[in-house]
């Protein structure tokens, strides 16, 4: 592709093709991908699962499994990498080009210490013979560089003794050990919490500055790309469908897939309860691709040419250098400056009748007061003994009114999953009360509990794990009906009705879950939850395991069902953007306590508690200009252990406000745990901070 460059490219990928052999046939994971990257720049490669982004980055250093066939050319500083022997390639790996992987727990060898593994990276390339001692010392230096506290001690620890964020720092240390020219980061923050993600992106930035390396950042998160990359390439079904400078692609997308993607992702700074524009359908099967553009089946703008010919990547004349898109109608999009809303139909969602009634006048469907749940802490696998207590949930209170959605947000370890499990168990809690539709769980008889189960249902996070793979979906939907003794003819009718309700064809009731896509499986899970006509639905991260383009459809479905069926939702999530779109109220949890609760617009636009502020500040926005302007609050350190929470205010060890306070005020944070109270005006917006000060961070 025509490209005016002042310096020769560092890495050139030319018509790369990767094919895998599989039982179902040849899987063409990468179909002719070409890109270049120059010294010092950051190229973001974005795509959903099945787009080929990970496979193409593994192909650069030939780390693919043996059943992969690679064709095309890859050149590093002019030297071809394809066709080189393993021995020769290993001289380049880890030295000139290094890689960071997604899941640091499985990516580090469990039986060697972290210091040894970093030292190994150094020793393998030290041709002039570095002593082990010197390597160990350098390893400790690198650990300090990436921000691991007590590096000398931590170097003798094993990977499983670190938290996820710390492990990723170790991986970065290993990657920069030999001062590489290019770092390939394959989804480095996908498995991490959002505040930890902010930390790691900082470390990555620092690594860039120290080594001067170029970075290829592979991810599905458009927000991360917006904040970190200079250029971006969007991949779909094994090809690049749009590429260019980050501002060009985000503000002037010229390919319908990019348009759709940008229009369908929820944003934490979105005002009002706007529906999202979903992209219909699912990504194509890489085994049997249709002849034309792979996006055509889902594209509202398709014409006959799209079904016959696959469009090539063609440069746009109107935008900055090297902005290219692969669409037959991209010229038209450019000429008419089409936006996502012009191309993709905005679904109209019915207004929720419950919204018209003021909150105080509505019935309470779920009430939780001072809920506590603790676990004994067992250490060791051989000699199991109790060494303490995990205070998973340490006194939380909230209520949900009819027709309302409460979003319960927090990062891993905050206790939100434990809280909903406690509610769903419908037994007397360790302390506090839970009342479902007015009935306290502590005093339920077995029969009453069984009856309440009809009204309180749950939708789980992972659509693959929440459906029994051994049962056809008709049976899965039948199970709740059968258990509650619904007569047989009524059951069959109801199953048909349910499938129609979530947009699936009733004829498919005898298929197994594996035959459906992730989004469809989640719809089946929702259908199952609705089988007994419940009043309250608990949803545990229902869209986080789904591809980005699928999420919008499921979120819209949940909204519609809520309005049509008069449901109330308890929506647990760590993804704040989704919560913004679907929740009426939000409660933020930290280490087993609620630190802020209120109306969703109030909390998101004017968060009062420093943790909420940090949390919102860490969420990357898919908006490059805004991202560059933002001043990010980056929390220090890791989450304290729930078995040993800090005295007084639990957040004080990482609080950015605490760091700025003077001594007498700090004492208060150290000794007194702040209770949840309305401090910032507005009786409905409560926070738990002695010195709460609302700030806008989005």
């Amino acid at each position: 592709m025509p490209h005016v460059m002042s310096a020769p490219p560092l890495l050139e990928v030319d018509d790369l093709t990767v094919t895998f052999g599989s039982e179902a046939g040849a899987v063409r994971a990468v179909r002719g991908v070409s890109y270049q990257i120059s010294a010092g720049e950051v190229l973001g490669i974005v795509g959903e699962s099945g787009s080929g982004k990970t496979v193409s980055s593994l192909a650069v250093m030939n780390l693919l499994p043996p059943n992969a066939t690679v064709a095309g050319a890859i050149r590093f500083r002019g030297t071809p990498l394809t066709g080189q022997s393993d021995r020769d390639l290993s001289k380049i790996r880890g030295k000139n080009i290094s890689m960071i992987f997604q899941d640091p727990l499985s990516a580090l060898t469990p039986v060697y210490t972290v210091g040894d593994q970093i030292a190994e990276a150094l020793l393998v390339h030290a041709d002039d013979g570095m002593s082990t001692q010197a390597a160990q010392t350098r390893a400790i230096e690198l650990l300090a560089l990436v921000g691991i506290p007590n590096p000398r001690q931590r170097a003798t620890a094993f990977p499983h003794e670190f938290s996820g964020g710390m492990r990723q720092r170790v991986m970065i240390a290993m990657a920069i050990a030999n001062d590489p020219d290019l770092i390939i980061a394959d989804e480095p923050t996908t498995a991490l919490d959002v505040t930890i993600q902010a930390q790691i992106l900082d470390v990555l930035q620092k690594a860039r500055e120290i080594t001067g390396a170029a970075v290829i950042l592979v991810t599905h998160d458009l927000g991360v790309i917006a904040g970190f990359a200079d250029r971006v390439a969007v991949m779909y079904a094994g090809r690049i469908v749009e590429t260019g400078a980050v501002d060009d692609v985000f503000y002037m997308p010229r390919m319908p897939y990019t348009l759709g993607l940008l229009g369908s992702i929820p944003r934490p700074d979105a005002q009002g309860h706007r529906p999202l524009t979903p992209i219909e359908g699912t990504p194509p099967s890489l085994v049997s691709l249709p002849p034309g553009c792979p996006f055509a089946p889902r594209c509202p703008m398709r014409v006959q040419a799209c079904i016959e010919d696959e469009p090539a990547l063609v440069p746009m004349t109107g935008s900055g250098e090297a902005h290219a898109a692969a669409c037959h109608r991209s010229g038209e999009i450019e000429a008419r400056n089409l936006k996502s809303a012009d191309v993709f139909a905005l679904p109209d969602l019915p207004a929720n009748p419950a919204d018209r009634v003021p909150r105080e006048a509505r019935a309470v469907v779920l009430e939780v007061r001072d809920l506590v749940k603790e676990f004994p802490l067992m250490k060791g696998t051989i000699l199991r003994r109790r060494t303490g207590t995990v205070h998973a949930v340490d006194g939380i209170s909230f209520d949900i009114r009819e027709g309302e959605t409460l979003g319960l947000v927090g990062e891993s370890g905050c206790g939100k999953t434990t809280a909903i499990m406690e509610i769903l168990n419908l037994v007397r809690p360790m302390a506090g009360t839970i009342a479902v539709l007015g009935k306290a769980t502590a005093s339920l008889t077995d029969a009453e509990r069984f009856a309440i189960r009809r009204d309180l249902q749950v939708v789980f996070q992972d659509p693959m794990a929440s459906l029994d793979p051994r049962m056809p979906i008709g049976d899965i939907l039948d199970e709740p009906l059968r258990t509650h003794a619904v007569p047989a003819p009524e059951r069959t009718a109801r199953i048909r009705e349910l499938l129609g309700l979530v947009g699936l064809a009733p004829e498919h009731a005898n298929r197994y879950p594996q035959a459906f896509s992730g989004g469809q499986r989640q719809r089946i899970g929702i259908a199952r939850a609705l089988a007994l006509r419940p009043k309250v639905l608990v949803l545990d991260e229902p869209v986080s395991a789904l591809d980005v383009s699928i999420r919008a459809g499921v979120i819209n479905l949940l909204e519609r069902l809520k309005a049509d069926l008069g449901l109330s939702y308890l929506f647990v999530a760590h993804d704040l953007s989704v919560v913004r779109h679907i929740a009426n109220r939000v409660a933020v949890m930290y280490l087993g306590r609620i630190v802020e609760i209120g109306n969703v617009d109030d909390v998101f636009d004017r968060p009062a508690h420093p943790y909420t502020q940090a949390l919102l500040s860490a969420v990357p926005l898919p908006d490059p200009k805004k991202e560059r302007r933002r001043r990010r609050i980056v929390l220090q350190g890791d989450l304290p252990s729930p078995s040993d929470p800090p005295s007084g205010c639990r957040f004080r060890t990482r609080c950015q406000l605490f760091a700025e306070l003077d001594e007498p005020r700090r004492q208060r944070c150290l000794e007194q745990s702040p209770d949840l109270a309305p401090r910032t005006g507005g009786a409905d917006h409560l926070d738990a901070c002695h010195y709460a000060e609302p700030r806008s961070v989005l």
């Binding site: 290993s90 990516a107 060898t109 469990p110 039986v111 190994e120 990276a121 060791g380 000699l383 003994r385």
Partner: protein, 330 residues
């Protein structure tokens, strides 16, 4: 922590006690030591038989509870009673366990090492000819009962001897016993002789060990071959071979920990069939003879011995796991 270990120890002691008691009571009620004397011609008078049985605490006229009590009292003093021929059980066990050890030690060690190496290699060269050969070998060997294997090797040895002309007293490979009697066990002649006696039985064990470990180590290695950390090791710059051995094999050894521990602890129990076929007087032979001779005390004694070893094996297995896998350390 100490209290926890003590509780566990108590549980294990209880297990040993219960299992040994069960064995004793079953043996005392089901076996018939009297039959040993009844088969003789002329049959000895009853009083004599009674006296002989009383002497070894196996008289069926004495109530089981009394015999059991007598035996347990002896147990508390470390005395396992007398065999049906009147020898102390303790002596029998302490002598035979070393015989068994001598029989199985070399074969086990060599077999284990070869098996682990073969399994790892087979996994790396999956589906190539060498992997197929190993798989076929493992399958056939694991499908053959030990006794058949022992007989085959014994006959092969005899065939080899005859074929090479060793038809007299001296042979190349011996198929009976541990050593030709009359030699000094530690002299050069004696050692060579003992070596010649142990080759064939060791071969039996080597075949079994290679077949077993070859199979299981291969599977463990295959599991590891797809791991992410292997990819990281290569991404760091390690050539594939080094990455496989240093990172892959080391991690793939972890699941083998249990097998190593049990094999090591049960070395003293020997190999029942191999001992029988090759005529070694070890624990395995003792096992079987105890039942055929209706020797109640020996049955109980052997059960106790095996129970203790199994528990040591379990404990060793935990230790081995902790040594090999830092994730389970306390």
């Amino acid at each position: 922590m100490v209290r926890f270990l003590l509780r566990r120890l108590l549980y294990l002691v209880l297990l040993v006690a219960v299992s040994t008691s069960v064995a004793y009571l079953l043996a005392a009620t089901q076996l018939n030591p009297r039959a040993r004397y009844e088969g003789r011609n002329p049959p000895p008078p009853e009083a004599v038989v009674d006296a002989a049985l009383d002497a070894v605490n196996m008289n069926d006229k004495t109530p089981v509870a009394r015999r059991f009590g007598f035996w347990t009292r002896g147990l508390t003093q470390g005395d396992l009673g007398l065999t049906i021929e009147g020898m102390p059980v303790n002596d029998e066990i302490s002598r035979r366990m070393w015989v068994s050890l001598r029989l199985v030690l070399i074969g086990s060690i060599v077999g284990t090492i070869l098996g682990v190496a073969a399994g790892a290699y087979g996994a790396v060269k999956q589906y190539r000819p060498v992997d197929h050969v190993l798989s076929v070998f493992s399958f056939v060997a694991l499908s053959t009962p030990v006794v058949v294997l022992a007989v085959l090797l014994k006959n092969a040895g005899i065939g080899l001897n005859n074929g090479l002309g060793f038809t007299g007293e001296t042979k190349l490979l011996y198929t009976t016993g541990e050593m030709t009697p009359g030699l000094d066990p530690w002299s050069l002649v004696g050692l060579t002789n003992r070596a010649a006696h142990v080759v064939l039985p060791s071969l039996v064990l080597i075949v079994i060990a290679v077949a077993f470990y070859g199979r299981y180590q291969r599977n463990a290695m295959l599991d590891v071959l797809g791991s992410d950390f292997l990819r990281t090791a290569q991404a760091k710059g390690l050539p594939r071979g080094r990455a496989l051995i240093v990172h892959g094999l080391r991690t793939a050894l972890i699941p083998m920990a249990t097998f190593f521990a049990y094999e090591f602890a049960l070395l003293f129990v020997g190999a029942t069939f191999t001992e029988r076929i090759f005529g070694w007087h070890g624990m395995g032979e003792y096992f079987v003879d105890a039942v055929t001779k209706s020797d109640v005390n020996s049955v109980a004694g052997v059960t106790l011995f095996v129970a203790v070893l199994v528990l040591i094996a379990g404990f060793l297995s935990d230790l081995a796991y902790a040594a090999l896998d830092p994730r389970v350390r306390v």
